[in-house]
Amino acid sequence: MVHLQDVRFDYDVIARWVPQGARVLDLGCGDGSLLRHLMNARGVSGYGIERDTPHVVECIRNDVPVLQIDLEQGLAGFEDAQFDVVVMSQSLQAVKNTEGILAEMLRVGREAIVSFPNFGYWPHRDSLAEGHMPVSRSLPYQWYNTPNVRFFTMSDFEELCAQRGIVVRERFAYDEDREITIDPNNFASVAIYRLGRAAA
């Protein structure tokens, strides 16, 4: 999955939003460093989900419980509300079945936290205006070798949430080392959302 060099905000914000001692499922957990951070900082328990074998081995090395499962298969096998929080850091854009996985996250978890690179970030718009697909810190790949399969803006994402009855409980947008509060769809390179289900 995709890894930013600078994941500090991701880790800090997610750790703030995850309750102490929560049961956490981390989708696309890479080498397990986020879950390790949450275990250390918040005393959480839980599992990482990862498809890629070298990453699975790194998780084991980092003493993070990992389940080697391909997210494209959804989360079949997991029970409803089995986790307090289902996290997906910097991976939503690499999953084809975006709608399905969002629904699954909020089935399996009481809450979901997702972060993703914002395609609407102004340098990306500049690239497109100049006739090229964007390459940036948050989208560090060429079009022909990117593992990302979905390209969307914060506005796009919020529209999808509204349509599917997903409530945005908190939002944090940033660019490099700065939080972005004004016009984040234009100025933020990465967005993090805390999501829940609308009360029935």
Partner: protein
């Protein structure tokens, strides 16, 4: 000379147990022997012991070689040794031949003390649970209260799982590889064909072939050939043998034409030359009976509720004998019980046999897991 990473020359040991063992089948062994091997050194607090459980045709001889036979390499030697993934510089590793076996532990070839003759067909049925009970007695004798890990592949994985259920406080890590929480109907069907091959061999004499001075070689050979088909994948067979012809042309006879026939006959002959048919029958039945959820109306989650261990589960993509789906059943039932579970679903083209091979990722995963086990 000792090869680097090898445990070197090893010798089996024998433990005798005088107290009777009541088996699940209702049978009782008044006394029994287990042969076993150990590698590495048990530490002062006995916290570094790892039990390696064998599968259908395995034995206590897990690693190293015997002094008199340079070719007698242990069946999981690529995993166990100094600096290997299951590192004998850190762990004290125990391999044991199960009850009913034919490598020295009490089994159908042993003398029944009541008659002074080999048990043969009268040897009681043994189950995975009985094996685990017998292994627990060995652990007692070795001064091991709690295993750092119990590890096994295939039928060995079932024993590792059963340890966590039967003696929840005596195993810290259950390592269940290429296994399943129970056999499928198809699995049992293959076992039944293998058994029928033996049972209907005229040399079998109802299991008392020792007394008749015969060996049901043909039956055992067929049983093993069937087994080997299920241990390989279609891809592995295609790659290894394809439709390659022994003579380069069709001969229109029943001798070996295709190389796959040669392979199966060779494996069958080799196996029939040393393995005991009664042990084969008993062991396939132990496989069939294994089903920890049986006493819980099929509810695996409920059956696993008493486990306290952490788990390492692994499966292989082309294993159709115990497919990844079977391991996932186990994983999710353990998750329901909030066990700490690590699950690796590894790409491999070698089918069920993969668990015995030294694929780099597979061994890296095992190495990393063992490194994090505290002793």
């Amino acid at each position: 000379m000792t090869a680097p990473g090898s445990v070197g020359t090893v010798a089996p040991q024998r433990a005798h147990f005088d107290a009777p063992l009541t088996l699940r089948s209702g049978g009782v062994l008044p006394a029994f022997d287990l042969v076993f091997e150990t590698y590495g050194t048990l530490n002062a607090s006995a916290s570094n012991a790892v039990l390696v459980c064998h599968a259908l045709s395995g034995s206590h001889h897990v690693a190293g070689t015997y002094a008199h036979d340079a070719k007698s390499l242990g069946w999981w030697d690529n995993l166990v040794g100094p600096g290997k993934p299951l590192d004998t510089d850190k762990f004290f590793v125990v391999g044991v031949n199960n009850l009913g076996g034919c490598y020295g532990s009490t089994g159908p070839m042993s003398l029944n003390p009541a008659t002074g003759k080999p048990w043969g067909a009268s040897f009681p049925f043994v189950t995975v649970e009985d094996w685990v009970d017998a292994q627990a007695r060995l652990a007692d004798q070795l001064g091991i209260n709690t295993w750092a890990a119990v590890l096994g592949g295939s039928l060995g994985g079932m024993q590792a799982l059963d340890w966590t259920l039967r003696y929840p406080t005596r195993v810290r890590h259950g390592m269940v590889i290429a296994a399943a929480p129970k056999l499928s109907a198809e699995n049992i069907a293959f076992n039944e064909v293998a058994r029928q091959a033996i049972l209907t061999d005229p040399e079998f004499y109802g299991g008392d072939y020792y007394a008749h001075g015969t060996v049901p070689t043909n039956g055992l050979r067929l049983a093993r050939m069937i087994g080997h088909i299920t241990y390989l994948s279609d891809d592995a067979m295609a790659e290894k043998f394809g439709r390659r012809l022994r003579h380069g042309e069709h001969k229109y006879h029943y001798d070996i034409e295709f190389e796959i026939e040669s392979y199966l006959r060779y494996q069958g002959d080799k196996f029939a030359g040393f393995f005991d048919a009664n042990t084969y029958l008993l062991t396939t039945k132990a496989l069939d009976y294994f089903d920890p959820a049986f006493a819980y109306e099929g509810d695996l989650q409920a059956a696993l509720a008493r486990a306290q261990a952490d788990f390492f589960i692994a499966s292989f993509s082309t294993d159709w004998r115990f497919s990844p789906q079977r391991s996932r059943e186990l994983v999710f039932a353990l998750l329901h019980n909030r066990r700490r579970v690590t699950y690796a679903e590894l790409d491999s083209d070698a089918g069920h046999d993969s668990f015995l091979l030294d694929d780099a990722h597979y061994h890296a995963a095992l190495r990393a897991y063992f490194q994090n086990i505290e002793v």
